[in-house]
């Protein structure tokens, strides 16, 4: 398979679109946790009861469509190779948790890959919906409609006082986690994001890196999400998150301008050095690749580079993850083999742009 073909199949259709404020916000996501009223939660459930739920979803929803979300496919975890599961995690279509307990668990994935409904995760149902760019309101509206669609057939565990009942006390109430994925290179470079994080936490929101492990935000990509799910309406939670994200966007734009103003040449140098590394290296670790891709994307946003699409960051951050590299190579790779493959995949990808 050619690289172009591989990319076309690997990258979710919605990820190729540019949403509002896409210079900074890569995607918006709403996740709703729901449970059946009369079934024990998966953490403590017997296999039979979990299987009943899985069968219910297969019978009722396989191949069905709802609004823009066509032909839901039931992807059963048990039937996947481990590399296939890994790829789905790297695309953020399923959670690592779902792959760790594959038995009787599945995901209903819409054709456009915007919606993934995980079955028998920590909760019986986890509805997840993505939009490109900054579109939290739309994501909430559509997720809520999907929720209503499921509720036509599912007796939800709900309590007047506690709201939607979930396995973990941290999700009870709305069962909603709203999050936004942001590229914040200037705020990261100037250490401002570290200084802002405690204040954001105070408001009941969490800031964390989403690629890589630990506190490092690989590729300067951060996820901002709500912590509190009880005692506030979905709309209020989204509004609070919205206003903080708006401020972060403004701050990031200001920081970019200030950097350009104060040290334009240095910034340009940094961008082109990173571009050079991506274009020419033969071995590259994921951390270095992420740093260089972030610089490249910043260079595109600032107008230093104009022949490469903005989506390159999102695309290559995903494609250079271990699962994807192995899928493309069609074999399992050791970490050092991956570094070689990663470098060659990035080189090839950038060459596609030069040909045009």
């Amino acid at each position: 398979m050619s690289l172009q073909q591989f990319i076309n199949e690997a990258i979710s259709p919605w990820m190729k679109e540019e949403g509002p404020d896409s210079d900074i916000v890569m995607s918006s996501r709403i996740r709703l946790a729901r449970n059946f009223q009369n079934y024990p939660f998966p953490i403590i459930s017997s296999e039979e009861r979990m299987e009943e739920i899985l069968q219910f979803f297969k019978e009722e929803y396989a191949g069905k469509s709802f609004r823009d979300y066509h032909h839901f496919e039931v992807v059963e975890m048990d039937k996947l190779q481990s590399v296939e599961k890994r790829v789905l995690v790297e695309k953020h279509l399923i959670s690592p948790h779902l792959t760790e307990h594959s038995k009787h668990s599945a995901s209903l994935i819409s054709q456009n890959e915007q919606v993934s409904i995980m079955i028998n995760e920590e909760d019986h149902i986890r509805i997840q919906l993505y939009f490109p760019g900054f579109q939290l309101d739309r994501a909430l509206e559509q997720a809520s409609q999907l929720d209503d669609w499921l509720e036509e057939k599912v007796d939800y565990a709900f309590d007047e006082n506690r709201g939607y009942l979930t396995a973990c006390p941290t999700n009870v109430g709305t069962g909603m986690r709203a999050s936004v994925m942001m590229h914040l290179p200037a705020l990261a470079m100037t250490q401002q994001i570290t200084r802002m994080t405690p204040a954001i936490n105070q408001l009941g929101l969490v800031v964390r890196g989403i690629f890589g492990e630990g506190s490092d935000a690989l590729g300067n990509i951060f996820q901002i999400s709500n912590q509190i799910t009880l005692g506030k309406s979905e709309e209020d939670i989204v509004e609070d998150l919205h206003s903080i994200v708006k401020q972060l966007i403004d701050q990031e734009r200001k920081a970019r301008q200030a950097l350009m103003h104060r040290s334009g040449v240095q910034l340009e140098d940094r961008v082109f050095r990173s571009y050079g590394v991506l274009k020419h290296s033969r071995i590259i670790e994921s951390k270095e690749a992420a740093k260089c891709l972030s610089d490249l994307r910043l260079g595109i946003d600032l107008g230093f580079i104009d022949h490469i699409p903005k989506t390159i960051l999102n695309e290559l951050m995903v494609l250079t993850q271990p699962g994807f590299l192995q899928q493309y190579a069609k074999e399992s790779l050791s970490p050092s083999e991956r570094d070689v493959r990663r470098a060659s995949l990035i080189r090839e990808r950038l060459q596609l742009e030069n040909k045009e």
Binding site: I43, F158, R162, C168, G173, I228, G231
Partner: protein, 181 residues
């Protein structure tokens, strides 16, 4: 880490078991822990659950595993739906089923307050079918707030309209819903 007994679920219960003076580490899922009786309070074990800090209940009782032999819990709260006891819930930090919420209700407010910035009551979406006439009750509360506001503003004409709406809604809540209330 997978559960070392069933290898199907994640190991969420980690404990050290002492048998004849010999220590063994046990990593099992909540389901197996229950099956194997690790979670009843007359076993010799020490727990190191990350989440346990959240459940700031009577610390002198179950966490100090070594002393737990002498500790006999009186009136152990146990969920009729899934069999989970309050102590087990505190150990794994997760509920076992919807009924757990009712069973442990009186002990949950401090936990929710900690996790949700002082909040203990849901204020969001109500499911269409499951919600029953909660929708109407919510609407009623909204009308009442509006009414109060209109009276304060001396907008009596508007207030009268709202009052009519409250009356018909009240009718619906008490009679229209097939005698649910």
């Amino acid at each position: 880490m997978d559960c070392q007994r069933c290898h199907k679920r994640p190991a969420t219960v980690h404990l050290t078991q002492v048998i004849n003076g010999e220590k063994t580490e046990v990593h099992v899922c909540a389901y197996c822990a229950k099956e194997q009786g690790y979670m009843s309070d007359n076993q010799d074990f020490t727990l190191n659950d990350l989440l346990s800090g959240l459940f700031n209940y009577d610390k002198s009782s179950s966490y100090k595993g070594k002393q737990s032999k002498s500790y006999q819990s009186n009136k152990q709260l146990k969920c009729p739906g899934c069999g989970l006891t309050y102590q087990e819930f505190a150990q794994i930090g997760k509920f076992g089923c919807a009924d757990c919420y009712k069973t442990f209700d009186e002990r949950l407010n401090p936990i929710f307050r900690r996790v949700h910035s002082g909040n203990i009551k849901h204020d969001g979406k109500i499911p269409k079918r499951e919600g029953g006439n909660l929708h109407l009750k919510k609407q009623m509360n909204e009308y009442k707030t509006q009414l109060q506001h209109l009276i304060e503003q001396e907008e009596f004409e508007e207030a009268a309209k709202i009052r009519d709406q409250i009356r018909s809604l009240d009718e619906q809540i008490h009679h229209g819903q097939g005698g649910e209330e």
